[in-house]
C-alpha cells in the first residue's frame, strides 16, 4: 500500500467513525429526560429516572409516546408545544383511554407480544372503578393506580405492584384507607380479614403464588362485586369437586331460590378460615343449624354425617395409636402407616363429600377409610404379636444356651478333676 492510498484509507475510516457517532447521538436524543433529570421539583424529576426494567423503556417507548410533544428539540417551547399535541400531565379520567391507545390496539401490541390481551379498556369500562371513572370520579383506580405511571414493571417482576404476592396490598392501598373510602360506604377491613384467611396465609405467609387473592374473585381490570348466586363458580375454579357435589345436592336449588351466596354462606368471603369439623353437625359452631331447625330432615342428616366423619377420625386415631405402639417396640409397620395415610386421604375426601349433603355418599367414602384402618390395625397387631413371639423365643433360646453352658461347665469341671 503506497502512502497516498494509506491516507485515503485512514480518511474514510475517520469519516465512518464520525458519522456513526452522530447517528448514535441522534438515536439517544431525548430532551425530556435531559431537562427533567436536572429539575429540583421531585414531581417533575422522578418520572425521568426510569428503571432499567420499565416495560416501555425497554422497547424504546419514551415520554413523547404518552405525553406527546417534540422530544428531539432542546427548546422547551417546541418540545412542550401544545399545538404539537403536548398534553403534559394527563387527567386521571383520561388515563384509561390514553393507555388503551396502544393496549387496545391488537395489531400494534402483537409487535411486542402476540398473546398479550387487549381487552383491558373494555373490561375496565364495565368495572366498578371504570364506571365511577367515567362519571368523572377522579379518586377511583385507573391503570396507573395499580401499574404506576412511570417505572411500570412486568407482572412477573416481584417488585411490581401487580405481582401475585403484592396484589392484596396493592388493592388495600385504597381499600383499607378508611378516610379515602369513606364516601363509597364500603368496608375497609377486607385486607385484615384476608390476611387471617387460609388463602391469605398461603399467599402472604407461605408465598404460595397459586393461592387466590382479590383479583381471583373480583377480577382485575373488570373488578367488581361477584354476584352472590354465582360465587360457587368462582370457588369452583380451584375447588372443582366440592362445587360439583354441591351443584348436584338439594342445596343448590335452595340457595338459588333464596339468593343465598353458595360457598360464602358457610365459609365467609374474605376471612375464609381453614374449615373445621365443628362446622358440621348440630353443635355450637355448626353452620348447618343456621338454617336447619331441630325437627327438620336436614338437621338429622347433619348429625348423621357428622357422626360418620367422627367415626372415621376415631378409627384413624386408634390405628395410629396401635401402630405407634408397634413402632415403639422397634417393629416395622410401614404397610400400616401407608394404610393410615390412605385412610386419612379418605377422611379428606369425606370432608369434601360432605358438600353432597348425602349421608350415603359420605358413608361410602368413610367406609373405604374404615376398611383401611382395619387393615392397619391388623398389621400393627400382627407386629406386636410378632414382637411378643420374638421375646418368648429369645427367652427360650437364652434359657437353653444357659443350661447348655452350665452342663458344659460341669462336664469340664468333672473332666479336669480326674
Amino acid at each position: 500500500m503506497d502512502k497516498k492510498s494509506f491516507f485515503k484509507y485512514v480518511f474514510f475510516v475517520l469519516i465512518i467513525i464520525f458519522f456513526s457517532h452522530l447517528s448514535f447521538a441522534a438515536e439517544a436524543k431525548n430532551s425530556c429526560l435531559a431537562c427533567h433529570k436536572g429539575l429540583d421539583d421531585k414531581r417533575l424529576s422522578e418520572p425521568a429516572n426510569f428503571s432499567q426494567d420499565d416495560v416501555h423503556a425497554k422497547i424504546n417507548i419514551s415520554c413523547a409516546d404518552c405525553h406527546a410533544g417534540d422530544s428531539s428539540s432542546d427548546d422547551i417551547s417546541i418540545a412542550m408545544d401544545a399545538t404539537k399535541g403536548f398534553i403534559g400531565k394527563p387527567q386521571k379520567t383520561d388515563i384509561p383511554k390514553l393507555c388503551a391507545k396502544c393496549h387496545s390496539d391488537s395489531d400494534y401490541m402483537k409487535r411486542y407480544d402476540p398473546n398479550i390481551p387487549t381487552d383491558q379498556l373494555a373490561k375496565f369500562e364495565v368495572s366498578q372503578h371504570g364506571k365511577l371513572n367515567m362519571q368523572g370520579d377522579k379518586k377511583t383506580a385507573t391503570c396507573i393506580s395499580c401499574h404506576h405511571s412511570h417505572n411500570i414493571l412486568p407482572v412477573n417482576n416481584p417488585a411490581s405492584p401487580t405481582y401475585a404476592l403484592n396484589v392484596p396490598n396493592t388493592c388495600a392501598k385504597c381499600h383499607s384507607d378508611k378516610e379515602y373510602m369513606k364516601e363509597y360506604g364500603i368496608p375497609t377491613n377486607q385486607i385484615d380479614d384476608y390476611k387471617e384467611s387460609v388463602h391469605g396465609q398461603a399467599l402472604l405467609v407461605k408465598g404460595d403464588r397459586s393461592s387466590p387473592s382479590c383479583k381471583h374473585c373480583h377480577g382485575n381490570h373488570d373488578a367488581g362485586l361477584p354476584r352472590a348466586i354465582y360465587v360457587g363458580n368462582i370457588c369452583s375454579q380451584c375447588h372443582a369437586l366440592t362445587y360439583e357435589l354441591f351443584s348436584k345436592s338439594p342445596h343448590k336449588a335452595a340457595h338459588d331460590k333464596l339468593g343465598i351466596p353458595e360457598c360464602e354462606a358457610c365459609h365467609g368471603n374474605h376471612k375464609i378460615m381453614k374449615p373445621s369439623d365443628d362446622m358440621l353437625g348440630i353443635g355450637g359452631d355448626a353452620v348447618c343449624v343456621k338454617c336447619h331447625s331441630a325437627s327438620s330432615k336436614g338437621f338429622k342428616a347433619a348429625l348423621a354425617i357428622k357422626n360418620s366423619v367422627e367415626d372415621l377420625k376415631t378409627d384413624i386415631a386408634q390405628a395410629r395409636e396401635l401402630t405407634a405402639k408397634a413402632e415403639r417396640l422397634g417393629m416395622e409397620v410401614e404397610d400400616a402407616l401407608f394404610d393410615i395415610n390412605e385412610a386419612n386421604n379418605s377422611l379428606t375426601k369425606a370432608r369434601t363429600y360432605i358438600h353432597s349433603f348425602s349421608r350415603e355418599e359420605v358413608d361410602s367414602v368413610v367406609n373405604a377409610g374404615k376398611s383401611l384402618t382395619k387393615k392397619a390395625n391388623e398389621v400393627a397387631q400382627k407386629a406386636i404379636d410378632n414382637f411378643n413371639f420374638r421375646r418368648k423365643g429369645y427367652t427360650f433360646a437364652i434359657v437353653l444356651i444357659f443350661i447348655f453352658s452350665l452342663a458344659l461347665y460341669a462336664r469340664i469341671r468333672i473332666l479336669e478333676k480326674k
Partner: protein, 378 residues
C-alpha cells in the same frame, strides 16, 4: 456293637487308606498350656465361630438379596419385613460381623502383648494380620450392600479418602467404585468382593492360619517363661515337636469343650444383641442428594477417620490427609512384618518400648473411636 467298637472300626478303615496319624496326634496327644493368660486363647476360636455364623447367615441372605442399585434396598426391606425370621438372620449377620471385627482386634492385641508371634510362629502372625485386613475389607464391602443413605455416603467418603492418595489415588478410587461415582457398578463389585473374593481369601488364609496353630501348638507367654513352670517338649508320632508346659490340658476333649463353652456364650451375646438391637433398615439412598451431616464409617474405621479429621491440612509441603493415609499404610506394613523386626522377641525377651507402643495404640484407637462416635461435626 457298641459306640467304641464303631469308632475303632471307622478309625481302622481310614488308617487302611489314609495317613491320619497327625490328626490322631492332635486328638489324642495335643496339649494346650494352661496359665493366667489362657483366656486370650479363646478369642481366636470365638472369631472362627462368628465367621462360620457369617457364612451361614450370609448364604441365607443371598436367597433374597438383589445386588442392583434399584433393587438392593427393597430386597433388604423384604428380608427384614416379609421373610420369616429374615429380620433375625439379617440381625445376626450384622451383629456377628461387628462382633467378629471386635474379637479379631482383641485376638490381634492379645497376641501382640503376649508376643505369641515370636519364632517359630511368625507366619501364624502374618496370616493372622492378613485375616485382619480381609475381615476389615469384608466389613467395608458388606456395609454398602443394604444401599441405604448411611452406607452409601459412608462408602462415598471412604472411597474418596482412598482417592486422595497421590498418583494411584484416582486409579484406586475408580477401581473401588467401578467408575467416577458410587453407583450400581460399585454395588456390583462390592457384592462380588463381599460374597466371593474376600471370603475365598479368608478361607485360604484361615486354612493356613489354623494349620500353623495346630502344627505348632499354642505359644507360651514370655512372662511365664521366667517363672518356675516346667518346660518340656513332646515328640508326636508324626515326628512333629510340640512345646509342652505344665500345667496343661489336653486339646481333646478339654480345650475343645472350653472352646465350645466360649462359643455358646458368644451365641448368647449374639442372640441378645440381634433381638434387642435388630439391624436397622435406614433410609433408601438418593444418590443425587448432598452428603447428609454426620455421616460416619463403621465403628472399626472410625478411629482412622477421626484421626484424619484432626490432621492439619498441610504438613510442611505435604497434604495432611495424604500423610495420614500413608501413615496408616505404613502402620499396616509394620504390623504385618512385626515378627521380623521385633529383634527382642527373637531373643526371647520382651521389649518395654513395644509394650508401651502397643498400649499407646490401644488407647489411641479407643479414644479416637469414642471421640468419633460423639463428634457431631461434618
Amino acid at each position: 456293637m457298641d459306640v467304641y467298637a464303631i469308632k475303632n472300626s471307622l478309625i481302622k478303615w481310614f488308617e487302611g487308606r489314609y495317613h491320619i496319624e497327625p490328626f490322631e496326634d492332635i486328638i489324642t496327644k495335643k496339649q494346650v498350656p494352661l496359665h493366667k493368660h489362657s483366656t486370650w486363647y479363646y478369642f481366636g476360636g470365638i472369631t472362627l465361630f462368628l465367621f462360620i455364623t457369617q457364612i451361614i447367615t450370609g448364604i441365607l441372605l443371598l436367597f433374597y438379596y438383589k445386588p442392583t442399585a434399584n433393587a438392593a434396598f427393597d430386597s433388604v426391606k423384604f428380608i427384614t419385613t416379609k421373610v420369616e425370621f429374615g429380620w433375625l438372620i439379617r440381625s445376626i449377620h450384622g451383629w456377628s460381623a461387628n462382633l467378629m471385627v471386635f474379637t479379631v482386634f482383641v485376638h490381634l492385641f492379645s497376641t501382640f502383648f503376649l508376643r505369641a508371634y515370636r519364632p517359630p510362629r511368625e507366619l501364624t502372625w502374618v496370616t493372622g494380620v492378613f485375616l485382619f485386613f480381609l475381615t476389615l475389607g469384608t466389613g467395608f464391602t458388606g456395609y454398602l450392600l443394604p444401599w441405604n443413605e448411611l452406607s452409601f455416603f459412608a462408602t462415598k467418603v471412604g472411597t474418596q479418602i482412598a482417592g486422595s492418595l497421590p498418583h494411584i489415588g484416582g486409579f484406586l478410587r475408580t477401581i473401588l467404585r467401578g467408575g467416577e461415582e458410587v453407583s450400581d457398578a460399585t454395588l456390583g463389585r462390592f457384592f462380588a468382593f463381599h460374597i466371593i473374593i474376600l471370603p475365598l481369601g479368608i478361607f485360604a488364609v484361615l486354612g493356613l492360619h489354623l494349620a500353623f496353630v495346630q502344627l505348632q501348638g499354642m505359644s507360651i507367654p514370655l512372662s511365664l517363661k521366667d517363672s518356675k513352670e516346667k518346660k518340656s517338649t513332646l515328640r508326636l508320632r508324626s515326628g512333629l515337636v510340640v512345646s509342652e508346659v505344665e500345667p496343661s490340658i489336653p486339646f481333646f476333649p478339654n480345650f475343645l469343650l472350653r472352646d465350645i463353652l466360649a462359643w455358646t456364650l458368644a451365641l448368647g451375646v449374639l442372640a441378645s444383641l440381634s433381638v434387642y438391637l435388630p439391624a436397622e433398615l435406614g433410609k433408601k439412598v438418593d444418590p443425587f442428594a448432598p452428603t447428609p451431616v454426620g455421616i460416619k464409617p463403621e465403628w472399626y474405621f472410625l478411629w482412622m477417620f477421626q484421626a484424619l479429621k484432626l490432621i492439619p491440612g498441610k504438613i510442611f509441603i505435604f497434604d495432611g490427609e495424604v500423610v495420614g493415609i500413608l501413615g496408616f499404610g505404613a502402620m499396616g506394613l509394620i504390623l504385618l512384618i512385626l515378627p521380623f523386626i521385633d529383634i527382642w522377641s527373637r531373643k526371647e525377651k520382651r521389649s518395654v518400648f513395644l509394650t508401651l507402643l502397643g498400649v499407646f495404640m490401644l488407647i489411641f484407637i479407643i479414644v479416637m473411636t469414642v471421640w468419633g462416635l460423639m463428634d457431631k461435626s461434618r
